[in-house]
């Protein structure tokens, strides 16, 4: 019998939820292990980097890499796995679009460090010690991977063949993704392995949305008792569904929560945030600057709302810090 194609999973800057998805495949994972051999999966099996180094180039059929890239180590591993793999798959919102970690691009490295190692209430660090890349101790030096100023998507670091969207991707999406990749005719490189259509398509509340809709004020889930039947936009909630790729079977809406956009945009849209912004702003009734402002004040954090998952992948990628001198 011929050797089974090798598959690898790796975890960069993310919460690990994507790894859960793999586990959530439940018994289905058996069918997969039938079909493939898991060659590298640090979270579950004891592999070290040298194992990967040892592998010949492109010997891994497909690597599913989850998480964004924000440290030297992650960048190195991304490059290494790229080199060793036939296909590199950005797995989940973080590697696809930057995901939640990408929101750190509203700050710079210094303030992130400060928050984590000084300011956060749970921290006791009187000495004000910060992580160092190199630490010398009688002749021997220890080194830590550098921490980047900017969080980047996987494809901002290495070429990516396919994308599996979602935070995390549903087991169903993953299963179909793996099947498509193993299957004969693969979609064009660069494809996102989910329906190329907005979420409303599969939203159970689709029919309850009226043809004309104007929004007097935007609400947040905690502001109201959310009706379980009617379209969330009509209830004044910011639902990213219209601008978000389908495939998740509207699981959040099933749970009576608005879509926050983890599926990313459709192939026809460059920037999900800009599009939902354009769409929602048009629904504001007023023609007066003051009134418009009043309505828009009900969206306290536009970037956090419209770019929750895709900030790192956006046109601007990060907040521009006036006159930042990037140390080289």
């Amino acid at each position: 019998m011929t050797a089974k194609p090798k598959v690898a999973f790796y975890w960069c800057s993310s919460c690990g939820g994507c790894e859960e998805t793999v586990v959530d495949l439940a018994e289905a994972i058996l069918d997969i292990t039938e079909a493939v051999e898991i060659a590298f999966w640090p979270v579950a099996l004891d592999y070290k980097r040298d194992h990967v180094d040892a592998m010949p180039d492109r010997s891994i059929a497909a690597t599913f890499l989850n998480g964004a890239i924000r440290t030297e180590e992650q960048k190195e591993m991304a490059r290494l796995l790229r080199q060793k793999s036939e296909l590199l798959v950005a797995f989940g919102s973080c590697s696809h679009l930057g995901g939640i970690p990408g929101l750190a691009n509203l700050f710079d490295r210094e303030s992130v460090m400060r928050t984590v190692y000084l300011d956060s209430p749970s921290t006791a660090n009187k000495a004000g010690v910060f992580p160092q890349t190199h630490y010398g101790d009688n002749g021997r030096t220890l080194s830590l991977p550098a921490f980047h100023n900017t969080v980047r998507t996987l494809d901002q670091v290495v070429e990516v063949d396919y994308y599996v969207p979602g935070c995390p991707p549903t087991p169903r999406i993953l299963r179909t993704a793996i099947q498509t990749l193993l299957g004969g005719d693969r979609p064009a490189v660069g494809a996102v392995l989910a329906p190329d259509c907005a979420l409303c398509e599969e939203c159970p509340r689709k029919d309850t949305k009226p043809e004309t809709l104007s929004i007097p004020e935007f609400k947040r889930p905690q502001d109201l008792l959310i009706d379980e039947q009617s379209c969330l936009l009509t209830q004044g909630l910011v639902c990213m569904g219209p601008a978000t790729r389908a495939g998740c079977e509207a699981s959040c809406i099933q749970g009576n929560m608005p879509c926050t956009g983890c599926g990313g945009p459709t192939s026809r849209v460059q920037e999900q945030g800009a599009k939902i912004l354009s769409c929602l702003a048009s629904l504001v009734e007023s023609k007066e600057d003051a009134e418009i402002d009043q309505v828009l004040n009900t969206i306290p954090d536009p970037v956090g709302t419209f770019y929750r998952y895709a900030l790192a992948a956006s046109f601007l990628r990060r907040k521009t810090l006036p006159r930042v001198q990037v140390s080289t």
Binding site: T150, L277, P322, S327
Partner: protein
């Protein structure tokens, strides 16, 4: 992905000349710009006009892309409120402008770099004053540095 060439910040020795992209509606502001021409009014050469049928066609993506591609400022010109050739388009533009301005603010881009102006077909002089004024304001702000772009090129070291 879109070919995003790195933004070359202009060499220190060459004086900074703002680059501004303008989206003008076909019926009012573009005509006003033509009028400014036929009346031989003189204004700063820093603006590149892109003609759209209506300010309502301006997709926020265009504005963000322009900045990402190295524009130091973006100007939208439409018909005066109530005068839109398509009745309502300029109001849509107005609302999108306000929300987008908020996003840009959060992203650290100064208000003066993104403007929406109502300029009717008869207001050639207004085109001149708006452009001159914006060029000066943006010149004062200096070049827009999108670190998000430039850092790609650089290996970073830790804190």
């Amino acid at each position: 992905m879109r070919n995003r060439q790195l933004i070359h910040a202009p060499e220190p020795h060459e004086a900074f000349e703002p680059r501004i992209v303008a989206f003008f509606c076909n019926w009012c502001t573009y005509l006003a710009a033509d009028l400014a021409g036929t009346s031989r009014m003189k204004y700063a050469p820093n603006v590149r006009v892109i003609r759209l049928m209506c300010s309502g066609r301006v997709d926020p993506q265009f504005v963000l892309d322009a900045f990402a591609q190295g524009a130091d400022g973006v100007l939208i010109g439409g018909c005066h409120p109530g005068d839109c050739h398509y009745q309502e388009g300029n109001y849509k533009a107005l609302r999108r402008y306000h929300l987008l301005q908020r996003v840009l603010r959060q992203m650290g881009i100064e208000d003066d770099r993104f403007r929406l102006e109502w300029i009717s077909a008869a207001e050639g002089d207004h085109v001149r004053s708006v452009i001159n004024d914006m060029v000066e304001k943006v010149r004062a702000l200096g070049p827009l540095q999108l670190n998000g772009m430039t850092e790609d090129a650089l290996e970073e070291v830790a804190v």
